[in-house]
């Protein structure tokens, strides 16, 4: 049985790490991009962003003041025993979000969408949000995503239903055009991490797109060779667009293109895109069934990718 005080503490630490420390794969993506970039304004932009991100880990402050929507992903072993059960896991998560807001790791960003009421602690109806995946074993893997508003609100998230007649060409065109629109004037803080969800109902595609942009390890490829090839094609074509850092023109336009898919109805193919900021913030921690805590360099939501 994993005690409440242990998982609550780990949830808080994972939030803190997610907001302040950039994952190894994001660091590597920055190092590679700085090397590749030849446009002076974009190269300096990447260097300054990277320097600031690294300082956040030292200064223990958020890598961006927009600490975004608080989103949790729990990968839970089928035999995992939590003190208080899963309702207590969610209560503990809400308490940890409140504490992280009080301590300045999260900005008080969540509001009532209709009245504008600001609870001051990032907790309200359906927020924070929880997604579960069940796997064999007794461990729990906690991932916190600080999902920035810029990459969500200014064209980074879109959906379209595509006919089977339009197939892969239709899917690629939608992804390309969505990304071009969303990066004008640096709207979504490019070079972004572009997630694509294909198939399922609209909400299944949207969830897959979000997981692809926030949870996939940068540089990984899908295990299905056809999907991996589409990822590779889109990554290459988008990086020839010359979007650059914050839309100022340059060689690096996207840090990654990650696709996840689900089987779909014969009637049509839902396609969703979801972008994550270049200052991609997420952290994962695993608690083993015996209470041992294992810090992770990046999420393992997709089993190795």
């Amino acid at each position: 049985m994993i005690p409440t005080n242990l998982y609550e503490q780990i949830i808080f630490e994972t939030i803190r790490k997610g907001a302040t420390v950039v994952s190894e794969d994001v660091k590597k993506a920055f190092e590679n991009s700085i090397e590749q970039e030849t446009s002076p304004v974009s190269k300096v932009g990447l260097e300054m962003t990277f320097k600031s991100m690294q300082l956040s880990a030292v200064k223990d402050n958020p890598a961006c003041p927009d600490t975004g929507w608080p989103i949790f992903y729990f990968k839970v072993g089928n035999e995992c025993q939590l003190e208080g059960g899963f309702m207590e896991l969610e209560e503990a998560s809400r308490r940890a979000v409140i504490k992280a807001t009080e301590k300045g790791y999260l900005r008080s960003t969540m509001k009532n969408p209709l009245t504008g009421h600001d609870p001051g602690n990032n907790v309200g109806i359906n927020i924070p949000n929880f997604t579960y995946k069940f796997v064999p074993g007794g461990d729990i893997e906690i991932t916190y995503v600080a999902k920035g508003g810029g990459s969500e609100c200014f064209g980074g998230t879109r959906y379209r239903m595509i006919a089977f007649a339009d197939g892969v060409a239709g899917i690629k065109k939608f992804v390309l055009d969505s990304y071009i629109d969303a990066t004008r004037a640096g709207a979504i803080c490019p070079p972004s991490i572009l997630g694509v969800g294909i198939g399922g109902t609209a909400n299944i595609a949207a969830n897959l797109a979000k997981e692809a942009s926030c949870l996939r390890v940068i540089g990984s490829r899908h295990s299905d060779p056809m999907v991996a090839e589409i990822e590779e094609n889109l990554y290459g074509a988008i990086n020839h667009l010359g979007i650059g850092t914050m839309g100022f023109g340059g060689d690096v336009s996207v840090l990654a293109v990650n696709i996840e898919y689900a089987y779909t109805h014969i009637a049509g193919i839902a396609v969703a895109v979801s972008c994550n900021c270049m200052v991609a913030r997420r952290a994962s921690t695993r608690i083993l069934s015996n209470g041992t805590v294992v810090s992770m360099q990046s999420p393992d939501w997709f089993e190795g990718r």
Partner: protein, 208 residues
């Protein structure tokens, strides 16, 4: 592209010399706002606090500020997307006598036209670097904290060479991102070919 180090409050001559793509650093008095202040003033009929009347540099931002030993401490600062305030943009330039707006995601045609009329510029960050900026900012005070909350409150700032920012709307109402976006649109054709999407591709219209 030239680099300028400017002192606020700004004069017309400070901003009319700026060309699209120029880099600027700014010192002196500025203030912050987001949606709530615009709404509070323009939709709800309130007045701008007296403390900001002589400040003509506006930063669109919602900083993280905490209270530490009776003093305000800036934890994190990054200009936010200006385009979401477009509805109130022209009025803010005109009625608040602004000479410079700092924000990302540029602004729209109506605000740009008012900037041309009133001689005002919009500048954008080329990076997301809160930790490189925090030391250039002193918080002098805060207005409407209770009414608007910590993030949407009006923070009165004293800046020391804060930047660099890139001029993206000049005093003639031109937008730097128009050309940059056109260049990307031109490369789109090549990208479509690279992705094996036929030139005459059209979507099957499923509804609407």
């Amino acid at each position: 592209m030239a680099t300028y180090h400017l002192n606020a409050p700004l004069l017309d001559a400070d901003v009319t010399q700026l060309k699209l793509g120029d880099m600027i650093y700014i010192s002196g008095k500025a203030f912050t706002c987001r949606s709530r202040l615009h709404k509070y003033i323009f939709d709800e009929g309130n007045k701008l606090p007296q403390a900001v009347e002589n400040r003509n540099v506006l930063i669109h931002t919602g900083p993280i500020v905490i209270r530490e030993q009776e003093k305000w401490k800036l934890v994190s600062f990054m200009p936010t997307s200006s385009i979401r305030f477009e509805k109130w943009g022209a009025r803010s330039v005109s009625e608040w006598n602004l000479k410079m707006i700092v924000g990302k995601t540029t602004m729209g045609e109506k605000t740009a036209q008012m900037m041309k009329q009133k001689k005002c510029v919009h500048v954008s960050p080329q990076c997301v670097s809160p930790n490189l900026w925090n030391e250039s900012i002193t918080i002098e005070g805060v207005e409407l904290f209770d009414e608007l909350g910590s993030i949407e409150a009006v923070w009165c700032l004293d800046l020391r060479d804060l930047g660099p920012f890139v001029v993206d709307i000049d005093c003639e109402g031109n937008n730097y991102f128009d050309d940059l976006y056109q260049a990307v649109r031109l490369k789109r054709e090549q990208a479509l070919a690279e992705l094996d999407i036929p030139e005459d591709f059209e979507y099957t219209k499923l509804y609407g």
